[in-house]
């Protein structure tokens, strides 16, 4: 079967905005921009060797998800040089916008954060989320559920009343 990969620009035209939203929501506004560039460059480098043109969006977001994990690991190494806690998250100082929500989201473990953002910020189906985070669909649902429960616990009552 002949691969018919579309021009890489087509992927960017279709998905760059969502990709950026995903990365800003999962990695924070500052690291989100860097992660965006890293994701696109990695994708561009690997693109010609891609074996299938099925679900190019999922492929792109898998790369983005891995960048977010790498970032979290690098951060935890910087913050706790002795500890081996790859899933620890970083809280952006004074996050703007819906501040308490940003802070709460950035406090979730990486996989939950990624799943919650894909589900609610980007409105993606569980099958796609599962593919991106490298899990079963059931595990993707579980990550979203656990993430939401944490958010409910973390968010103070007064913040929950804000709209």
């Amino acid at each position: 079967m002949v691969r018919r990969l579309p021009p890489f620009q087509t992927l960017l035209d279709e998905h760059a905005t969502d990709l950026h939203r995903f990365l800003v929501a999962t990695a924070g506004p500052h690291d989100g921009a860097d992660a965006f560039q890293e994701t696109v460059i990695s994708a561009l480098r690997a693109y010609p060797d891609l074996q299938s043109d099925r679900n190019l969006r999922g492929w792109l977001f898998t790369i983005a998800h891995r960048k977010v994990i790498d970032l979290a690991r690098a951060r935890s190494r910087r913050a706790h040089p002795m500890a081996e806690t790859p899933e620890i998250a970083h809280v952006d100082p004074e996050p703007p916008g819906d501040a308490s929500l940003w802070t709460a989201v950035s406090g979730l473990p990486t996989k939950q954060r990624s799943a919650v953002v894909q589900r609610f910020v980007l409105d993606r189906p569980y099958a796609e989320i599962a593919e991106v985070i490298g899990s079963s669909e059931a595990a993707a649902r579980q990550n979203v559920r656990a993430g939401l429960e944490s958010l409910r616990r973390i968010l103070p009552d007064h913040a929950r009343q804000e709209v």
Partner: protein
């Protein structure tokens, strides 16, 4: 599950200081170029004969086609490399020389050409065509002769029809032996416009 937190997450907007998409994409583009990851750069430019789609590889100009030619860009992704990006900067020199040509200030193009989209006899015909100077015309039959196969004027015709680098590889200078216009990918009006620009005498106009 789909409760108030979900609703608020849906409206989670990026902060104001986040750079806008154009800046982000420009930065990515620049880095992709610097790291040699853009196998095909393309853009669309305006001209007196309508928009032209221009594409270049690191080897040179690989495609000039008429209109905003998405099919040509898809074709490049398939035949050259899928690492295709819109990168107008890479085509600045092509655009400048085309502008000068359309204003009558340039008769010859000084651009590296990438011939990989044509092969065999067609490529030989196009190589001969590039030698036909500004303001002169040639017949399909002449081109076939020059390319080494006098009986192949039909094949010379199909070389014109599939010319990947229009205008710069001047297929508009190729007419029928009778002096008839023949055909043109950009439409006959465009062909006539170009021949007039170059001051060519046409029998049937």
């Amino acid at each position: 599950m789909d409760d108030e937190i979900g609703r608020r997450l849906r409206h989670l907007s990026p902060p104001q200081e986040a750079p806008d998409m154009t800046t982000l994409l420009d930065d990515v583009n620049r880095r992709a170029e610097a790291e040699g990851l853009v196998d095909v750069a393309w853009t669309v430019t305006d001209s007196p004969i309508g928009p032209l789609t221009l594409a270049a590889t690191p080897a040179g100009l690989v495609r000039v086609s008429f209109g905003e030619d998405e099919a040509a860009v898809d074709d490049l992704a398939r035949r050259v490399s899928p690492r295709v990006l819109r990168a107008p900067g890479r085509l600045d020199d092509v655009r400048r020389q085309l502008d000068e040509y359309f204003e009558g200030r340039r008769h010859d193009f000084d651009l590296p050409l990438d011939w990989q989209l044509s092969s065999g006899f067609r490529r030989q015909v196009l190589a001969e065509l590039v030698q036909v100077p500004y303001g002169q015309t040639v017949s399909y039959k002449d081109l076939a002769v020059r390319a080494g196969n006098p009986k192949a004027s039909r094949a010379a015709g199909s070389a014109m029809a599939t010319n990947p680098i229009a205008v710069i590889v001047p297929c508009h200078r190729c007419l029928r032996t009778s002096g008839d216009l023949g055909g043109y990918g950009g439409g006959l009006d465009a062909k006539v416009w170009l021949l007039h620009l170059e001051g060519s005498r046409l029998l049937d106009i």
